[in-house]
Symmetry: C2
Subunit: 454 residues, 2 copies
């Protein structure tokens, strides 16, 4: 049994939904279909979810939402028309939307969540109607009835453990099940949405709940690439990677799939197949618990900008029990989360995401570290990029670091920071942002297209 999830662009138009129909019905193992709200049809188009959020916000500001509402209805109506569906489904959607917009506004965040979630909920109904129209036994599934119970955190709902047991009974139901993504119901029966990539999360939860053999995630790319295609043209596609590799790559910029969305499937040991709705014959990328090493030490390279470091030096630092802990406590008091802390004997660098603080906080932090920890020097360095070189195969592969650092030396990139612990499946390099591109290109060349060097 497979759970199949389609993203917004895969369901943005009648033509796309016909592709979805072909894909789903071509494999009898595809039992549960998770549906997103209609996404963009072309660059500059608006996602239904964004229209719904604007609609809800207008209501809260006591502005007239009718124009936005009409735009939403129009999106569904266009799709229904393209699919030759009766207008009944649109009447139903309109009634549902009006009911939501006229609902209780005393808790604005919950109101927004209810309106937002309609994008998926109504689209699932529409898709189910289409499948039925085509003569397939298919049913819209109400997450409340199915038992997808979540915490009452608007925009950040967490699935509650009892959901899995309840969802298991979906296995017994006849026909194809069309399930709206992005939201669940609290114990009190209220709608709450997941965080970003919400439909991916729903699919992952369902795959776990019904103990699927595979969770297929259809999106608009053929595969996960071994490197950012904006940095290296036509990079190698990854056929198979582990959850852990996926997560390491996601950390620094790979955005095909938000890695946390995979946790429920990961916990149940269910593989995830990334595929392209627009090119379903492409093999795609499979994310698994373990894989054979067939790619050499490195499977992918990812990078991200927007980091900075706080360098703190103090003579005899390493004799001082508690220095590191006190330093981290100060950052914690500023609400800062840090990424890494490479250290020497008398110094330590804290690597953080730059968007967390401003100049004023920077001065205040410097002051406190000097005052409270009697540091000799405190220095901020901005504009750092982190590069992750990832692969299960490098776990005990002698010489991978040599190859990586030599590649960067050839590209005349200075390595500002290296962080490599034991049991790692990745190497992390810090470089200046201006060097990011050439560093990544050099690493790609080294590990994917070996060249003869003098």
């Amino acid at each position: 049994m497979k759970v199949v999830k389609f993203g917004g662009s895969s369901l943005a138009s009648g033509k796309q939904i016909e592709k979805v129909f072909q894909i789903v019905t071509s494999d009898s193992e595809r039992k549960i279909v998770v549906v997103s709200a209609p996404g963009k049809r072309f660059a500059g188009d608006q996602k239904v979810t964004d229209l719904l959020i604007e609609c809800a916000e207008r209501c809260l500001l006591k502005q007239n939402p009718l124009e936005m509402l009409a735009a939403v209805i129009q999106r569904y109506a266009t799709i229904a028309e393209e699919l030759n569906l009766s207008s009944e489904i649109i009447t139903e959607i309109q009634a549902d939307l009006e009911e939501r917009l006229n609902g209780d506004r005393s808790k604005p965040e919950r109101f927004i969540d209810r309106v937002k979630a309609s994008g998926e909920d109504n689209h699932a109904k529409l898709v189910a109607a289409f499948f039925q129209e085509k003569g397939v036994e298919a049913y819209y599934v109400d997450p409340r009835v199915a038992g997808l119970v979540v915490s009452d955190e608007p925009g950040n709902a967490q699935v509650l453990p009892e959901s899995y047991e309840r969802l298991y009974s979906l296995r017994e139901r006849d026909g194809l099940l069309i399930f709206p993504g992005f939201f669940g119901y609290s114990k009190e029966g209220e709608v709450f949405t997941f965080s970003r990539s919400g439909s991916d999360i729903t699919g992952s939860i369902l795959a776990n709940g019904v103990k699927a053999d595979l969770y297929e995630n259809f999106t608009d790319v053929d595969a996960v690439y071994s490197v950012n295609p904006f940095i290296v043209k036509k990079p190698k596609e990854i056929k198979e990677l582990t959850y852990r590799e996926m997560r390491e790559l996601s950390y620094a910029g790979f955005t095909v799939l938000h890695d946390e969305a995979l946790v429920p499937a990961f916990r149940a040991g269910i593989p995830v197949q990334i595929k392209n709705t627009n090119n379903p014959s492409a093999v795609g990328t499979r994310i698994v618990n373990e894989r054979d090493n067939t790619n050499g030490p490195v499977i992918g390279i990812a990078s991200a900008q927007g980091f900075c470091s706080i360098y703190v030096s103090k003579y005899l630092m390493n004799r001082e029990i508690g220095f590191g802990r006190k330093l981290l406590s100060i950052l914690e008091e500023f609400g800062l989360s840090y990424e890494h802390t490479p250290s020497g004997i008398d110094d330590i660098s804290i690597i953080l995401r730059e968007n967390q603080f401003d100049m004023e906080m920077e001065g205040e932090i410097t002051r406190r570290i000097k005052l409270e920890l009697h540091a000799d020097e405190v220095k901020f360095e901005h504009g750092l990029a982190l590069i992750m070189v990832v692969g299960e195969g490098m776990r005990h592969n002698i010489g991978t670091m040599a190859r990586a650092s030599k590649a960067m030396a050839r590209a005349i990139v200075n390595i500002e920071m290296i962080n490599q612990g034991s049991s790692e499946v990745s190497m992390m390099f810090g470089v200046k942002e201006v060097d990011e591109k050439k560093a990544v290109q050099a690493l790609y060349e080294e590990f994917f297209f070996p060249v003869v060097t003098v």
Copy 2:
């Protein structure tokens, strides 16, 4: 003006003291001579300081100390005889020792400190007597009179800031000043000794106090070597290195000079010259604040065994503000100091010195980390060696990491850990202890004797 310090082996016999006399009098800038207690004359010989400690401990246990006392007196008597000194000096030393041993024993640690310090104190008197006998104007200096004031911590006295100003007046005194190393006096006038390398500390304090041009530290090696001679035969001598390089090298095993002893000289910007009493024409090694880069990126390689790592992994660790701080707090509660914390996204390794804990503590730490931090995995790895590759020249030298890691790959050494922060003058590698020797040899070959590779 130079402050000159001689170690125990440089003053272990009459013959050695004659060498010292030649060295001191050959340069009129050598004004203050810091003297250690007589050291070993041959392998298996006993140091006077060790005899004195045993002597004091016997007194405290109410055992007869006379035999040990006689052995101490005998050492001085033999030296006096070799130098043709009158027996008067030995009578004086004997009286001093008896007075110390008959002193107040109510505070055992202070009693031991007083007895221990006599080794340097009496030897300074003997050396001064010999210089006078040779017709040189030389005076024993009493640290109390000179104003070397220290904190009242037995075996770990810290110099008090007012000492420096008081010691400055030594500049005005006539003749050569023979100053006993290893101890000072508290404000209450009691003797307290420094920690290990105590005479080095005295020399460093005096150099600062009198604002010397140079602090010469005579020992029994020609120079600081670029690598441990037990690992690489006849390694290159280092002509000049910075304090910081010295400290980085000391951290992992270079023991010619205990780096903390240099702090007072370092603070005053006074260079330190390491020289060999037995080969004074050898240039030796100069330790300075800044140096010209003449050695390529690397100046030295040091390594030390006896480290272990605690590997902690937890899915989504990097989202959790305070995780690292809480982890370090637990270790702090066990009184553990840690060295480094290389980290990945979902894991962190804590590198610690292995001698800090036993199996029981290991189990307890594992239990607490799992319980309090809900870690997925906690794992100890023993038998790690740290290798430091040090050099001011690698600060912005592109390709040094590539050369180092390639050298280790050639030697088929797996790198367990790399820790390199910004503004570093060193690279740190963690390897298994069994790989230490071949890793260091490979690094030495790479940076000191470049070989052509295919």
